[in-house]
């Protein structure tokens, strides 16, 4: 497949500080690509380099095969939806959307037609004469996107545009954005610190940390098969044990945790008995009171509290060594009898836990 954007060995330094550190990736045409990372990881700098607002220290950015070095932002076939949208308050909706076309000298009649068509595409037909201040948060969002889409860019860049919305609207806009992207077929590059936004909308997600890409993959891969401890910790919730490797076998290892359990789990990277590791386990991977415990890691824990949250309900449990663990509580009424204070057996399959060698050594 043809790539709309390909970035290779991109570096950006601000004085001593390296914001983007040797990053390479390709975005296939027509896909929804997200860059996910905590604030300060360099994702905004990355995006602004693609848009042309920052000059890379080294490395290349190519859009549809054309090198973008020394091409001014307004000459690039990309448009940016800003974090706070940057809609022009001194113009109405139609003028905002027409702005870019007017700059290109498109004939008036043509502008009017395309503005109206774009408004329809984003689900705001007839909104042209409204003032920006009259719009709701979600509508502003769509106008900001329409303002870019009307120019038919090769790539649309979005800088956390949902950040300013309240939770409910954000949930709704996630779905809308995904549908809109599927409909228009433009390549979207979306940056966010919210893992749920990235997972829900994207075809591919890059997890970024300290200026580097930790892993690039589909949302399922990131969640089910994290490549680094950072990804395991950052994407989704995890229970964590510290421990040491006792023995290695194929793709698995037996780990003795610091509190004295012996668990078998998948391993990432080289395996050496005696090395310090960190074990990650999803809350939903744990089974409460498993009927058939053969092949599972099992241990006893005490229920400390019931965290009821509808379909997202969990148990807060503690091991005898006061290690707190979250356990997903399926809402199928089978576990309605569980009360705080009760002791229960928990079990999990060795394939659902993954361990990484701990930074800093074998001590």
């Amino acid at each position: 497949m043809e790539n709309d954007l390909s970035v290779s060995r991109l570096v950006k330094r601000f004085g001593e500080f390296t914001a983007v550190d040797d990053v390479s990736f390709d975005v296939p045409a027509g896909s929804f690509f997200s860059i996910l990372g905590p604030s300060g990881c360099g994702k905004t700098t990355m995006l602004r380099m693609v848009a042309g607002f920052e000059e890379p220290t080294s490395g290349t950015i190519a859009i549809r095969g054309r090198d973008m070095a020394r091409v001014a932002p307004n000459r690039r076939p990309v448009n940016l939806v800003f974090q706070h949208l940057a809609l022009f308050p001194m113009m109405n909706v139609a003028r905002n959307i027409a702005f870019g076309l007017e700059r290109r000298g498109t004939p008036r009649a043509e502008i009017a037609r395309r503005v109206e068509r774009t408004l329809e595409r984003v689900g705001l037909p007839g909104f042209g004469s409204k003032e920006i201040a009259q719009l709701s948060g979600g509508q502003k969002q769509r106008v900001a996107i329409a303002r870019c889409l009307v120019l038919e860019p090769s790539v649309l860049l979005l800088d956390e545009p949902l950040g300013a919305l309240d939770l409910k609207l954000r949930e709704q806009m996630k779905v809308e954005l995904k549908k809109l992207q599927a409909k228009v077929g433009t390549t979207f590059i979306y940056i966010t610190h919210d893992q749920s936004e990235a997972l829900v909308m994207s075809d591919a997600v890059a997890v970024m940390n300290k200026g580097r890409f930790e892993q690039v993959g589909s949302p399922q891969e990131l969640y089910g098969d994290p490549a680094t401890p950072f990804v395991a910790g950052f994407v989704g919730d995890s229970n964590i044990w510290e421990g040491t490797v006792r023995e290695c076998s194929g793709q698995r290892a037996v780990i003795g945790t610091d509190e004295g359990f012996a668990f078998e789990a998948r391993r990432r990277g080289a395996c050496a008995p005696g090395s310090a590791v960190r074990l990650f386990l999803r809350p939903e991977a744990m089974r409460i009171e498993p009927a058939d415990a053969s092949g599972l890691n099992t241990f006893r824990a005490t229920v400390k509290a019931l965290l009821f949250d509808g379909a997202n309900s969990r148990l807060l449990t503690v091991t005898p060594a006061e290690h707190e663990l979250l356990v997903t509580l399926p809402q199928n009424r089978r576990f309605d009898h569980i009360r705080p204070g009760q002791e229960i057996t928990l079990g999990w399959h060795p394939d659902s836990g993954v361990c990484f060698r701990r930074e800093g050594g074998d001590a």
């Binding site: 602004r48 042309g52 607002f53 920052e54 000059e55 001014a72 932002p73």
Partner: protein, 283 residues
Amino acid sequence: MIRTLPNSRAYSWSYAAFVVLYFVFLFAPLAVTCVLAFNDSNFPSLPWYGFSLDWFASPGPERVGILHDAQNLRAIWTSFQTAFWVSIMTVVVGTCAAFLFEQENFPLKGALYFLMLAPLVIPGVILGISQLLAANTAGFFIEDTFGLDVPFLRPSFWLVVLGQFSFITTFVTLVVSARLRKFDRTLEEAALNLGANRWQVIRHITLPYLRPAIVGAGTVAFLMSFENFNTTLFLVGSEPTLPINLYLQVRDGSTPVINAISLLLIVGSSILAVANLWVSRKA
């Protein structure tokens, strides 16, 4: 354009050069004034004859430095007294006005507020003449009716104070109001709830909160008064303030003693300006 957009080198440089030239334009007259205060010459002009403190300290008779210039010293003292009274009066009345407009509701408040802003848009010369006229009318009226002669209704020290007070109070009101508007009224309610009465609340809660604004406004009022010319021109009696006295000297030909006075004024106002900035930063 802005920092983040690409600019050609030539554009950036010529823009920076423009700004530098602007600052040169801004400071050239002040710098020249200050430097020439130290020229060992009888005229405030080049060439440079050497460094001298004559225009500060010389006792005369050929060159009279500012420290021995009785007339200018008297004018400075008059300006000081004027500015002192004006800043006290404007701060008191301006703070009252701020409380009145920010915390009270009464009929015709809008009209009164508009009236309060009016001195901003009345040229100083007009304020001067209308106050001169009104004082004169009042003086005649009192003399006719009661047979009393009220000296301060003729151009005099106190008429200058009143004239300056009439418009500087507006500035003080605006500064204090701006801060009062940001005041969290629940603090007052909390104090009332804890048993304080209205005056105790103002004294212990509101006024301490307003203090930076009041000090800042007082400083600005002092400077505005010290430097006022337009309004004062019409109201001044036999005791000229410093700007009036300087004006007469500049108009009729000058000696470098004016540079010396200017230097002192520049240093004095800069110190006040920086102090004021420091106070408002801390607030």
